[in-house]
Symmetry: C2
Subunit: 405 residues, 2 copies
């Protein structure tokens, strides 16, 4: 099935917001077995909207439009769609009754605006909106699926997931199932070398995507059922994990701080960080994880050069210009004692933008997992360099942590 | 002038990446006086690409296409454009000589791929790429401007800013000039009340956009020159600043940590943070600013409950469940002394997702600027709550800092 995504909104054409809805819907449609061939964005102008609908209905089997359904909106989207489909706009009596009851229960005034929200092209159905008042609209006849969804992403997603994804997946007869393995401490070239035979496959496909100081490996299979797709993806995922070992730290949206937190919790180890160049970023990432207080003792951010020796109890002679392998190790050792942690990690480096050796950094681990220090040369702007250094510190920690192989 | 943005790339249609190029170009075209009426995304398919070009050239005066220009690419975009324009693809001899010399200087092999990069539709010119090897292409004849730019955002932006923006602004004869004032510590409703007369204006327009725990006020004017537009925008910006006072902390992309850093530097004050719920986020934001070591002494992240009294030298009796106004103040006081700073700020709170009173938090300032503590009830998911609390801490600091009125 061919898909098309139609985004409606002047704020998109003015560049005031990024079109994240188009990305989300494209990805989910691919997973439902619908191939998106066009994404089109137009404003609230009736003629251009009509032309966009007409073109989309001619070339696609599934058209998903977002935007232009809000209560204060002029409901242009619905009217234009009804017109292009050649049917009148009619009142959905059941939806009207429900919405009226909902407003009465809340003691709110039910007016003309609300009444308009329960209109639909004749032959279409309204899709309930669990996150807002504007319902979606679904036209599903003669092999053509057209859906109108509200623009706010959380409302759009809620309706899409509840009402559209299952329907489209069943209609397409084909499932795309993807698993995303997250990989650190090994570059894309080395991954390709180890997985070249798997990456030559066509179903499932295995493809690497470079992220910030890590790689996402996407294993995707097409089949007529989830079980069949999983039967294709599962063994390949296992084989990739066998070949890459501990470099695979997690799956899906899991991040390296999640994996480190989980491993620390299982090993019953406590952690502290001493950060200069990352300014607290390593601790901040670790504390994104709910329940981090079980293993994270805290962090010392030593940012001014003269504070380093005093705060950490390090010989000022050894601080130098604030960036060395020895200093990173001293910092990791010192914070382990200072914050009564089992393990300490530390960062120091030059983030720029001014000065010599921008990007040079050291990360270190000390304490119960042994001592290790690593030099890196991070590239990018100041913030990207800091993020790469934080990721390198977590990677070093991950490599030392005990884990199930 | 009417504009259209054409994005080329299968990864966009698969939802693997978000189309940030379309947003960027739309915003900059609006500022150049070009009104974007369509954004269209297609894949690498020649027929669909041809149809997209044909439609764009019929309805727009300015067409900017991105993607499909890389060295390993099949140069489909250029070929299709030449075909739609009815001209052959020809070699740009000057560009060929330059690129060959560049490769020779680097000792790299110059091959067929590189030679292809210096092809162009006859009558077009190549635009130098300061960030990569694939040059852009510009067709500028008979009132029609068509530009092809590479897909990677930093390459696309570099070519657009150097070669296209000035040309388009001169051609459109109309300038849109926007100034964005950044506002904290006052809600959208209160802003609208104070600025209702200004917000009713049509040129310039004044519009608020809600951001995370702050508001961006966009003042935009259209005129035939920058000077004329500035003459419209300038007085309104001054008037907004007069009415909102210190709530306006900066302009454009400046963020609250930038403004706080600048004010600390001017006042020759040093700062330290004591963070529990924000886990280092306040310090991390402050250290994004180059040169922060001048005023930022460091940070203490006290995350485990038993560490709090020990690290900060606070009476354990007063720690309680780790969240109170008194504790926030104690933390701010303690870190001021511990890190020898003039001013200390502190955060404590419940970020969830589990537990009672999720979102309840306290932020405090102590030291040379006096003492102040504020309770807040932050909403959103765990990370959003943490970001709101960090922003509240910086807002409280901003309010206490000396500034020029």
């Amino acid at each position: 099935m061919r898909g098309e995504i139609l985004s409606v909104g002047t704020e998109l054409l003015l560049g005031q917001i990024t079109n994240t809805n188009a990305r989300y819907l494209s990805e989910r449609l691919a997973e439902a077995g619908v191939f998106v061939y066009h994404q089109v964005t137009v404003g609230d102008n009736p003629e251009r909207l009509r032309a966009a609908y007409t073109a989309a209905l001619q070339r696609a089997d599934v058209v998903i439009a977002t935007g232009g359904l809000g209560p204060t909106y002029d409901d242009l989207t619905k009217e234009v769609l009804a017109d292009v489909l050649g049917v009148p706009l009619v009142q959905d009596e059941a939806a009207l009754t429900t919405l009226r009851a909902w407003f009465a229960a809340k003691g709110a005034t039910f007016g003309a605006i609300q009444e308009k929200q329960t209109m639909k092209p004749q032959g279409a159905e309204l899709l309930p909106n669990p996150r807002g008042t504007a319902p979606g609209v679904l036209w599903n006849r003669d092999g053509l699926v057209v859906a109108l969804l509200p623009g706010p992403p959380h409302e759009m997603r809620a309706i899409f997931e509840a009402s559209l994804f299952p329907l489209l997946r069943a209609a397409s007869g084909e499932h795309l199932l993807s698993r995303r393995l997250r990989v650190v401490g090994i570059g894309e070239a080395a991954i390709q070398e180890r997985l070249s035979d798997l990456m030559a496959g066509e179903n499932p496909t295995v493809a690497p995507y470079a992220k910030l100081a890590e790689v996402e490996l996407r294993i995707s299979a097409r089949a007529s059922s989830d079980a069949d797709a999983e039967a294709l993806v599962g063994p390949i995922a296992l084989e990739v994990r066998r070949r890459l070992g501990y470099h695979v730290y997690g799956e899906g949206d899991q991040m390296l701080h999640d994996a480190c937190g989980e491993a620390l919790r299982k090993a019953k180890l406590t952690l502290a960080t001493a950060e200069s160049v990352t300014g607290g970023l390593v601790a901040e990432r670790l504390t994104r994880v709910p329940g981090a207080s079980v293993y994270l003792r805290g962090a010392l951010v030593v940012y001014s050069l003269e504070e380093k020796p005093r705060q950490l109890g390090i010989d000022p002679q050894r601080v130098g210009d604030g960036v060395s392998a020895q200093l990173a190790l001293d910092m990791a050792r010192a914070v382990t004692g200072k914050l009564s942690a089992d393990v300490g990690i530390a960062t120091c480096g030059f983030a720029g933008p001014e000065g010599r050796e921008v990007g040079l950094a050291y990360v270190a681990v000390a304490g119960a997992l042994g001592e290790k220090v690593r030099e890196l040369h991070a590239h990018g702007d100041r913030q990207e360099i800091r993020e790469r250094i934080a990721q390198a510190a977590l990677t070093l920690l991950w490599e030392q942590l005990p884990r199930e192989e």
